[in-house]
Symmetry: C2
Subunit: 288 residues, 2 copies
């Protein structure tokens, strides 16, 4: 049986991604991204699921930097999950004044305008995750609320007082599924949105137009890039590498051609993974 | 007197940036990035200081997205601060066992390997900021520690038990200084590392090689780019804009030329700021 680790506790957005991807397996919750990736590295779990972009719980840079610098793992799938934040209350709640609202700092910030308009007097209290915030409501009672997703409500027996209180629609988080030794990934039946390949490119030095030359190697082959991000190399300010998402699977002609061309320019190219990209569609919950 | 707001409380890395930049003024602490930027927007403060990249407290994406979508402000300076995390203990600490270690989740993650090796049995507890973690040590006593910077130690009367416990050297955070109505910025005497200009470029649609064409407009003018990042447009998946840092001040020839060329391609270019980039050098503290 596959052993899947994730950034927990129960009721986080990462757990939503795990539930959407996996039917069977043993599931292990970790309290930080490095702890989860270390467990994959040591072989304690087969598969790790961690936030990769626009995350609620945990820093995105942390995931990328840990994958680049600390472990030797491949991204074998990604899942995009829409971020819908709801105001969650105790099952006994009956219109009492809400004095405190709990959540992860990013979730509170994402609902900043809603809270400012509707609960200007409530104290905002920070927790390690949106899942943890939901647990606190059960402990504290009817005068407090949590901000979290519908899974956090279900897992803790809370009611959704107001759904969709986030300030932006169309906010999504990308989750990476990683493995050390590539095994077959048994996931639920999802339509595959696209096949992607992620590579890391380092430049020999900070020279004018270097990135332009790198992109030319992709552009003249008509390889479409869906994301590009520069990140510091950790060897001092001003030294960057580039993470590039290419909208096609790895192949034995185009990618090796790009690699050879870049190496001739003094660059390096490392493959971080070629993988299916899934999308999760969550129906909006009805107000209770 | 200038009114400066920042992501607080006292003892955060943002407050370190404020202390490094400003001699005089009235200083106001905010508990979230949106709250700070909203106060600038409403004119309650003249200047805001918020984390922009590789932040400890608060999400970087949150700052960028709020500047792009919610407010109309300019970046008028940036300051780069080295991130040095220390293990902070109560002034009465005398070798007692540390049962709990408090900090912001990002700071705990940044010291993950140190904690794993040295304090495998301590409970890790999360706070809204590294500054708040230091306050908790005063409240809880000698059996707990905090992870934070030297300012958090000073402000709260804590001792540094072990300095520099972060897993990576050369980790830095960039802070943005923003204003709504551009006023003269009276900062302390710092050597200016470089002059930068940040622009936002949107593409007409996700066409092959679009970014390559955009970069060509900079490359043939020999304008060096120090950072490029794609971000979702919030109008649905797959629509991206690009944030580009150019290593030179805005001028009336090159930048308008780039703008005109990009507009001819169906792109838009918006100036987010042209500003001095300062660097803060912090001497490493001695173990107490």
């Amino acid at each position: 049986m596959q052993r899947v680790g994730y950034l927990g506790p129960k009721g986080t957005f990462t757990k939503m991604a795990v539930d959407a991807l996996f039917d069977q397996g043993s599931f292990v919750s970790f309290d930080s991204i490095p702890a989860c990736l270390d467990a994959v590295e040591r072989g304690e779990i087969d598969t790790g699921v961690v936030p990769l972009e626009n995350a609620i719980e945990g820093s995105v840079h942390l995931t990328i930097d840990y994958l680049i610098h600390q472990v030797d793992q491949s991204v074998i799938a990604e899942l995009t999950v829409p971020i819908r934040q709801h105001l969650l209350v105790h099952p006994d709640y009956n219109g009492e004044e809400l004095t405190h609202i709990y959540s992860h700092s990013h979730a509170i910030a994402q609902c900043h305008q809603y809270l400012y308009k509707n609960y200007p007097n409530a104290e905002l209290e920070y927790t390690a995750s949106t899942g943890r915030a939901a647990e606190v409501v059960i402990e504290k009672g009817v005068h407090v609320a949590a901000i979290g997703n519908h899974l956090a409500a279900e897992e803790n027996g809370l009611n959704i007082l107001t759904p969709n209180i986030h300030d932006y629609d169309n906010n999504h988080t990308r989750f990476a599924v990683v493995q050390k030794t590539q095994r077959k990934l048994e996931v639920k039946d999802h339509p595959i949105a696209t096949q992607k390949t992620t590579v890391m490119v380092t430049l020999p030095k900070d020279f004018v137009g270097a990135l332009h030359q790198v992109l030319a190697a992709f552009a003249w082959r008509k390889m479409n890039l869906s994301k590009i991000e520069s990140r510091p190399m950790k060897t001092g300010l001003g030294n960057y590498f580039f993470l590039i998402d290419v909208d096609q699977p790895y192949d034995d002609v185009l990618f090796p051609g790009v690699k050879a061309e870049l190496e001739a320019l003094g660059c390096t190219l490392k493959l971080l993974g070629t993988y299916p990209s899934y999308q999760l569609d969550i129906p909006s919950p009805v107000c209770q």
